[in-house]
């Protein structure tokens, strides 16, 4: 019905190998792209800055983590630390007078280098041990940033981001940061969409399914695992610099604690491991569910006369993240992306259910 497949016949291989073989999907993607471009005209500035901008940035970060966890099957519990390295490195470079474009890439490279060191530590071992090594990375990076005043600008200090320009446009006000974040998000999304069509993506998939089996058929597993860490950490570093310059504008160590890592892992799991679309869904749910629930509690307290303690309200996000991770893993391990895929498959042949394969 909606996702009409009837009457679409691909006569060339390249037609069938498109990212979106069905015209409806193409139009939907185009519509979303246009909506994102013209969002500043459509919605209020307040919503743009406090809802849409974080959603775009966190989605990019979730894509970077999803590349590692869903694409290469390597667990990472310290992605917040990777983002912190990118943010601090690029802000320091900008303050030293480097243009923002270069600082962004520099932050990405430094994140990639540090991330790869910890990845290489853990690649002799895997699964479980990797989880612990990356968890240790989070704590060590936190410690280094806080303890070295040269990096953090002193304990409890914030580091101001100077005025910068990106490709000749000054990144100030509400619009420019949004478009910078959107551009980076678009680039990462395109990379992720095309990943599974490349030999790199296929090699990663082989490593993910079973690394020894991949080695037997000639995939250099160590190299690809390391590459996966490199690419994912690079994306994390770039996101860090975008986060610092476009969203926070003044960074302090507590913005990048374990909580951020947990948030991102929750986004990937809730959205769906290995799914591009899922990263966006997951980021939206994890970012906005606590806000909505908190507003509901506020409404319940003021309108319905329910008394809800501040302790309870302040712990709602943690409860929600945990409950969503557990719930999705138990009942829908492939996350929101799978739910969307089920809906799509249902409407593909609606109302002729019997025609579904």
């Amino acid at each position: 019905m909606f996702y009409r497949r009837a009457g679409i016949r691909h006569t060339r291989y390249q037609d069938e190998r498109q990212i979106w073989p069905l015209p409806f999907d193409r139009r939907l993607a185009l519509l979303i792209f246009l909506l994102a471009i013209f969002a500043p005209l459509l919605i209020d500035r307040l919503y743009l800055v406090s809802y849409l901008l974080p959603w775009v940035i966190w989605s990019t970060a979730a894509l970077g983590l999803n590349f590692l966890m869903g694409g290469a099957g390597q667990i990472h519990l310290g992605y917040g630390a990777v983002i912190a390295i990118g943010a601090y490195a690029s802000v320091h470079m900008v303050r030293a007078g480097l243009p923002f474009e270069l600082a962004m890439i520099g932050g990405g490279l430094l994140s990639a280098a540090v991330g790869m060191i910890f990845g290489a530590t853990a690649l002799r071992v895997k699964g479980l041990y990797l989880a612990m090594a990356t968890l240790a990375m989070q704590y060590i990076v936190d410690f280094v940033i806080i303890q070295f005043p040269a990096i953090s600008g002193g304990t409890q200090a914030t580091l101001q981001v100077p005025r910068v320009s990106f490709l000749g446009v000054e990144v100030t006000g509400d619009l420019a940061p949004y478009y910078v974040a959107l551009l980076i998000c678009l680039l990462v999304t395109l990379f992720m969409l095309n990943l599974r069509r490349s030999s790199f993506g296929r090699a990663l998939a082989a490593v993910r399914e079973k690394d020894y089996a991949a080695a037997v058929i000639g995939v250099n597993t160590f190299r690809y695992k390391l590459l996966a860490f490199w690419v994912s950490s690079f994306i994390g570093g770039v996101v860090g610099s975008v986060l610092a310059v476009c969203y926070y504008r003044a960074i302090s160590p507590d913005q990048f604690h374990l909580d951020l890592s947990i948030q991102l892992v929750a986004m990937v799991i809730v959205g769906g491991l290995g799914s591009v679309l899922g990263s966006f869904f997951g980021a939206a749910l994890i970012l906005f569910a606590p806000i909505l629930l908190n507003q509901f509690f506020g409404f319940a307290a003021s309108e319905l006369g329910m008394t809800i303690s501040t302790d309870l309200r302040s712990h709602v996000p943690l409860m929600l993240y945990g409950a969503m991770i557990v719930g999705f893993l138990l009942w829908e391990p492939l996350g929101l992306a799978k739910i969307y895929a089920n809906l799509r498959n249902y409407f593909l042949v609606w109302p002729f259910r019997h025609a579904r394969q």
Partner: protein, 295 residues
């Protein structure tokens, strides 16, 4: 640096390390039987502390009834967790199972302070707060008693592995399907392991709650426990004892010696450094079995 201070740091470090080791022993117990690293162990310890506090402060039981009540309740909670969450994940990739336990950890860290209040709860188990002196060395009584109890409990756990039930668990950890085929109830063995591990977590939670009060920070025991479990070898209970002493000593000495130099905060990073170093130099730990994987 005078020797007296070093000796004081070392002795306190050993006992604190033994208290950490109790949490790590729970992780090892579960890993030994089911091959899962339980990242919710810190949260279970916190939950045990909260329950003991709730039974004594909210319902008015004396503490010597409240603690056994908390232990029994946590045994049930542990087995229920295994039955309704972990067992459904059998056959899923290890990454999913780890994430599930991490999800439990996050959820418990929100639920318990959320409903019981996030202020620090005082858990009085009858240890007088007066300090204790050997010569000129100042020792914390709560830490001394906590460390001794932990040592005792871990020794009991080691002994337990030689009992009938312990032999069943060792069989399960060796080869689940082989154990199954000779009539061992594998699910029950794993469920009991989870229950016992929750009991050990509760004991640790109560002991730590008695020294520093009960609040969400008890769940931070996880990272130290992980460091101990990895250093000792994930499937070795005696390894936990020795690694616990090493980690406790390292942490205590780092706090005393390095903190004045770098300006504080080394306490929390020692465990992480130990994890990374162990993985670099000897990934299966001091006493762990080297794992051979086949395609």
């Amino acid at each position: 640096m005078d020797m007296l201070l070093l000796a004081e740091l070392a002795i306190n470090g050993v006992f604190i390390g033994l208290m950490y080791a109790l949490v790590a022993a729970g992780i090892v117990l579960i890993y030994k039987t089911s091959g899962i690293a339980n990242l919710a162990q810190g949260a279970l310890a916190m939950m045990g502390g909260y329950l003991a506090w709730a039974f004594s402060a909210l319902t008015g039981f004396p503490i010597w009834i409240a603690i056994p009540l908390a232990l029994v309740a946590m045994f049930l909670i542990g087995t229920l967790l295994e039955r309704f969450a972990l067992r459904r994940m059998v056959g899923q990739p290890i990454i999913m199972v780890i994430m599930l336990t991490l999800g439990l950890e996050i959820m418990l860290r929100g639920v318990l302070p959320g409903f019981f209040g996030s202020a620090v709860k005082r858990l009085d188990i009858g240890i007088p707060p007066t300090p204790f002196f050997i010569g000129d060395i100042f020792l914390n009584k709560a830490t001394l008693i906590g460390g001794s109890v932990s040592l005792l409990l871990i020794l009991v756990a080691i002994y337990f592995f030689n009992s009938r039930l312990g032999i069943i668990m060792r069989a399960v950890s060796d080869d689940q399907s082989a154990a199954w085929s000779v009539g061992i109830k594998v699910e029950r063995a794993i469920a009991i392991a989870w229950g016992l591990s929750a009991v050990m977590a509760t004991a640790a939670g109560v002991l730590w709650g008695a020294t520093q009060g009960v609040d969400w920070s008890l769940s931070l025991l996880l990272i130290k426990a992980l460091a101990i479990a990895i250093l000792g070898g994930l499937d070795s209970l005696p390894g936990v004892l020795i690694a616990g002493v090493i980690v406790g000593l390292a942490e205590s000495l780092a706090t005393g010696v390095l903190d004045p130099i770098v300006g504080g905060g080394t306490r929390d990073v020692v465990a992480s450094v130990i994890i990374v170093l162990t993985l670099l130099l000897r990934p299966h730990g001091l006493f762990g079995r080297e794992h051979i994987e086949r395609v």
